[in-house]
């Protein structure tokens, strides 16, 4: 089971639940897009808050196991992935 | 309306004839009329020292001197520090100590430090800090500059012995 850490501002949709487990089909075949779609089925409105024009909301990046993955919705996850949606970092 | 005039000055040992505008500062004259862009501009109000030059033996902020005042003056800028390809000990020590990061303050520090060492060959920490307090560096935190100046002072003392 992969674990999605629900951004706290979306936890109104999950009834305050902080993490949600999602089934991963085959190793390396499930994409972040499928995960978001799955969450949207379970928590209607989830996708609308996270996506913008078929991509992640500007200013939101997907972090898988501590690393930002630039493929965004196309990134593939593993059976034990920890998934976060947080802003990317640049700096001065 | 603009008034142009000719200013003759000795810049880094060379007699120079510059056509300047009356409204120009010495900094502008050096950079625009003489093409010596080593002297930098950081504030134009005499607060940063990036434009430091030695004029008639005195350390000045060239942004505060009007170009016509330079008539007949002897001016030393960063471009005059090295003798040909022989770098001044200050230049060598700045490089060795990594006493510059972006380097925009460096010409001003070098000129101000040279002026200090011309007057005081063995300055204390406090004397260096006091003399160079008119020069701002936002990159280095000053420690490496201080060390470079002390080492250069020692070089100059041993070479003049």
């Amino acid at each position: 089971m992969a674990v999605v850490h629900v951004p706290s501002l979306l936890q109104d949709l999950t009834g305050g639940v902080e993490t949600v487990e999602v089934q991963v089909s085959g190793e390396g075949r499930t994409s972040v897009r499928q995960v978001v779609e799955e969450l949207d089925r379970r928590f209607p409105g989830f996708a609308a808050r996270l996506l913008w024009e078929d991509d992640l909301m500007p200013g939101i990046a997907v972090f898988i196991d501590g690393e930002q993955n630039r493929l965004g919705l196309r990134a593939k996850i593993a059976g034990d992935s920890q998934i976060f949606f947080i802003p990317p970092v640049v700096g001065g | 309306m603009s008034t142009k005039r000719v200013v003759t000055a000795t810049i880094n040992g060379t007699d120079s004839t510059l056509i300047v505008d009356d409204r120009m500062s010495l900094l502008d004259a050096l950079r625009d009329a003489a093409g010596l862009t080593g002297t930098k501009e950081g504030c134009l109000t005499g607060d940063c020292g990036a434009c430091s030059v030695i004029m008639n033996g005195r350390l000045v902020d060239s942004c505060l001197v009007m170009a016509p005042e330079a008539e007949g003056a002897i001016i030393e800028t960063v471009e005059g520090l090295a003798q040909g390809n022989d770098l001044h000990p200050l230049q060598k020590r700045f490089l060795e100590h990594a006493a510059l990061q972006c380097g925009v303050c460096t010409p001003g520090f070098l000129v101000a430090a040279k002026d200090l060492l011309d007057r005081n060959p063995e300055p204390t920490d406090d004397e260096v800090r006091y003399w160079l307090a008119g020069n701002l560096c936002r990159c280095t935190g000053y420690d490496k500059i201080l060390r470079a100046v002390h080492d250069a002072a020692a070089d100059l003392r041993s070479s003049s012995r």
């Binding site: 609308a48 501590g66 802003p87 640049v90 001065g92 | 603009s2 109000t45 770098l87 020069n135």
Partner: protein, 767 residues
């Protein structure tokens, strides 16, 4: 495998201190920055700026200016293409909308901050341009302005943008407000966490607006040719982003623009955004001549940078043994006149150094009639962590615990989760705290004279990866040239050359590094985010591997042996058992022509494996109770630097960052009058530290190699600006028994606080 190459060999070049390759030009005055170039037929540009922090622009009449002899063009906001919504990645990590960049570069409709560009002029000389700017007649309808973040949040505050509502992750509120974004991070039940604590302390803090304060003002020169090709010469941290921004703003094809980065006199995050570049291009288009614009210092203060002022509330609960059970942070950040993401960044930094089961962070970005806030070295981290480090200092005193021990007890390590979620990879906070504890400074007796004390604080920055490109060419004498797209702001040419030399078995002096313009190298992101040595260094390393792969084939040809049997051992190509003399890259140079021609390697990377960096600072201070002046007696920076490539420049980053932080803590601030105008836009009145104001900053390099980089590099440059705020605050509190909780702790503020506290407090400090 500490202190070794990926092949397990000791470093030969990395960790040494060669003279930087561009050094000579910088000490002889030959180095050219943006203000140093000029063209025979160039025009001088000048910007007309709003004198009002908030005003409707009723009309602009430039006819008198245009009629002046020598004036060749005037542009106003009406001449920029219509603003459009388009998001892009900017220095602040999150994204910005080009609509607002457009409006920031040249006002349309309203002036939103003092110094907001209203029009720009090109003329034959700077004096004519200045006169022309004065001759432009602008009618303003002055509006009430708000420059204080907390006031700007009030429902009755003057509104900057009617169309802006609060955005909270995908949802927009209905009402117009200056609060443009709300961010939240939550873990567990924070109330339960606080009830499990033995000691809970909650405090409020404020910090003032500060400026990056680079010594070189912004500059840009542009030439718009008749064939539509554009060249921009500028001092920027991000030439490829300048190209993108100008293309986007002026609706030009990216490929028509070439940006030539000249030497840059400091940036610290403040030279990422475009200010003058689009104006120079538009003015050049109108006149057909190169147009040069250079800001003066006042313009730099009024209209560029700065870093957010903040109002924060920090609450931390601990067990008697010091274990943190819960923390809550409420962060309000000045955005300036256009939407920003600085509170977003602050929310990710504020609790990052510590482990805790429960936490709650709420952060708000707030619009104010001040210049749009830009990145400043570890942007948003100093203001956020300042409050946390102060509360922890109070907790340490309350528990009677050593302040470093308290930090050690709660410090994050590999596998712990950052407050905003993801797990940390290998990091060196614990090693850094330990090194601080073991330092001669910390072990020496703390200063114990009247009004003297010692204190510590921790700092953190993520560091960035982004994208970089590099090429490495082998010369016919076997030396190498390295070309990257990363502007060298503080010695990075040297570190690039050193990494290439290490990889190729050459000496640092045998590699010539250079920085290319946007036509001459693949896309490379900003020099910022402490990413250059890490990411561009990785591109250089990979390009060297490309070179080595090609060279191995050449050796195979020369030796008439199978490629697979040949190894490069870091110094030379070897063959295990056929008695061939090893062959170095140096020796191969002359043999390239005969074995197939020149060899050049290239690489473009978007690396993961970024290593976060932590620092601990120790300060000894003395306060003059009469004047409120703080003397920093001794100051030490301890930091995990991964692997130091050129230790002198690593130390320099640590010292320079610390001194900027000291300035932030003690003196620097935007002072504004009731109308919201800045009263101190000069280096005379905005006091950055001079050589007299700071002691020699001592440095301790802790090297915990970053496993995400072949040479263990982690970013270094930003973290050191974070701890000074808390360190000096705590030292002052311990020295005189007054917790200021408000920056800067300038002499007038501190002496007033001391007076208020009464003289007994000074005589017998009980912090």
């Amino acid at each position: 495998m500490e202190k070794q190459t990926p092949g397990g060999r000791p470093y030969k070049v990395i960790g040494t201190r060669p003279i930087r390759h561009d050094g000579e030009d910088k000490v002889t005055g030959r180095a050219q920055s943006g203000a140093d170039i000029s063209f025979r037929d160039q025009l001088y540009g000048k910007v007309l700026r709003s004198p009002h922090p908030h005003a409707r622009i009723v009309s602009i009449d430039a006819s008198k200016a245009l009629a002046m002899p020598g004036v060749e063009a005037v542009i106003t906001g009406a001449e920029l293409p219509q603003p459009h919504d388009r998001m892009f990645l900017s220095g602040e990590g999150g994204v910005e909308n080009f609509r607002y960049v457009n409006d920031r570069v040249l006002a349309s409709g309203k002036a939103l901050f003092e110094g907001h560009p209203i029009a720009a002029v090109a003329a034959k000389d700077i004096w004519t341009a200045e006169e022309a700017v004065k001759a432009i007649e602008v009618t303003y309808e002055v509006l009430p302005a708000v420059t204080d973040v907390l006031k700007a949040m009030q429902p009755d505050a003057p509104l900057l943008h009617e169309e802006i509502t609060t955005e909270t992750l995908g949802e927009k509120k209905k009402e117009s407000t200056n609060v443009c974004r709300h961010t939240q991070h939550k873990r567990g039940d924070v109330d339960q966490g606080f009830s499990a604590a033995d000691v809970v302390i909650e405090r409020e803090f404020t910090t003032s607006t500060v400026h990056q304060g680079y010594i070189e003002p912004h500059n840009a020169t542009a030439l718009y040719r008749s064939d539509g090709q554009i060249t921009i010469w500028t001092s920027t941290q991000a030439p490829f982003w300048v190209r993108r921004d100008v293309a986007e703003l002026l609706e030009l094809p990216l490929s028509t623009i070439k940006v030539v980065p000249l030497e840059i006199g400091g940036g610290f995050g403040g030279k990422i955004a475009v200010y003058l570049e689009p104006l120079a291009v538009l003015l050049s288009k109108k006149t057909g001549k190169p147009v040069k614009l250079v800001m003066n210092r006042q313009e730099v203060f009024l209209a560029t940078g700065p870093a957010s002022s903040t109002a924060t509330r920090i609450k931390i609960g601990v067990k008697k043994d010091g274990t943190i059970t819960a923390a809550a942070a409420h962060l309000v950040y000045e955005a300036g006149a256009f939407p920003s993401n600085w509170a977003v960044m602050g929310s990710m930094c504020v609790l990052a150094p510590y482990k805790m089961e429960t936490l709650l962070i709420d952060a708000f970005d707030v619009l104010t009639n001040t210049p749009k806030v830009m990145a400043y070295r570890a942007p948003s981290s100093p203001q956020a962590i300042f409050g946390v480090e102060s509360v922890l200092d109070e907790i340490a005193l309350e528990l009677g615990m050593d302040p470093l021990e308290l930090r050690m007890k709660n410090a994050v390590e590999e596998g712990d989760r950052r407050a905003d979620g993801p797990k940390f990879p290998r990091i060196g906070l614990k090693e850094t705290i330990q090194a601080a504890m073991d330092s001669e400074h910390y072990k020496s007796p703390a200063p114990s004279g009247p009004n003297q004390s010692r204190a510590v604080a921790v700092g953190f920055w993520f560091n960035a990866g982004l994208q970089s490109s590099a090429t490495v060419g082998i010369n016919m004498d076997g030396t190498a040239s390295v070309v990257t797209g990363s502007v060298d702001i503080g010695g990075s040419r040297a570190s690039m050359a050193m990494m290439a030399a290490e990889a190729l078995g050459l000496k640092a002096e045998e590699v010539r590094p250079s920085v290319a313009d946007t036509d001459a190298i693949g896309h490379t992101d900003v020099t910022g985010g402490s990413r250059t040595t890490f990411a561009t260094g990785m591109a250089v390393y990979e390009a060297c591997q490309d070179v080595l792969g090609q060279l191995k084939k050449r050796v195979a040809t020369l030796w008439e042996l199978p490629e697979e049997e040949i190894e490069f051992d870091g110094s030379a190509f070897q063959h295990a058992d056929n008695g061939k003399d090893p062959m170095t890259v140096k020796e191969l140079g002359a043999k390239l022509t005969a074995t197939g021609g020149p060899v050049m390697g290239h690489s473009s990377v978007a690396p993961t494996g970024v290593g976060a960096s932590f620092g601990v600072h120790i300060a000894d201070v003395e306060v003059d109770p009469e004047t409120g002046k703080v003397t920093v007696l001794r100051y030490t920076v301890v930091q995990d630097v991964g692997q130091a490539i050129h230790p002198s420049y690593v130390e320099g980053q640590m010292q320079g960052g610390a001194v900027q932080g000291i300035g932030w803590a003690l003196n620097e601030e935007y002072v504004r009058n009731d109308e919201g105008k800045m009263m101190n836009p000069s280096f005379l009145d905005y006091r950055v530290p001079t050589m007299l104001d700071v002691p020699s900053i001592e440095t301790i390099l802790v090297e915990v190699p970053n496993p995400g980089h072949p040479y263990g590099v982690r970013g270094v440059g930003e973290t050191p600006i974070v701890p000074p705020l808390g360190t000096l605050h705590n030292a002052i509190a311990r020295a005189v028994g007054v917790r200021m909780r408000s920056l800067p702790m300038s002499p007038p503020k501190l002496s007033a606080a001391l007076q208020a506290k009464g003289l007994e407090a000074i005589a017998a400090p009980t912090p």
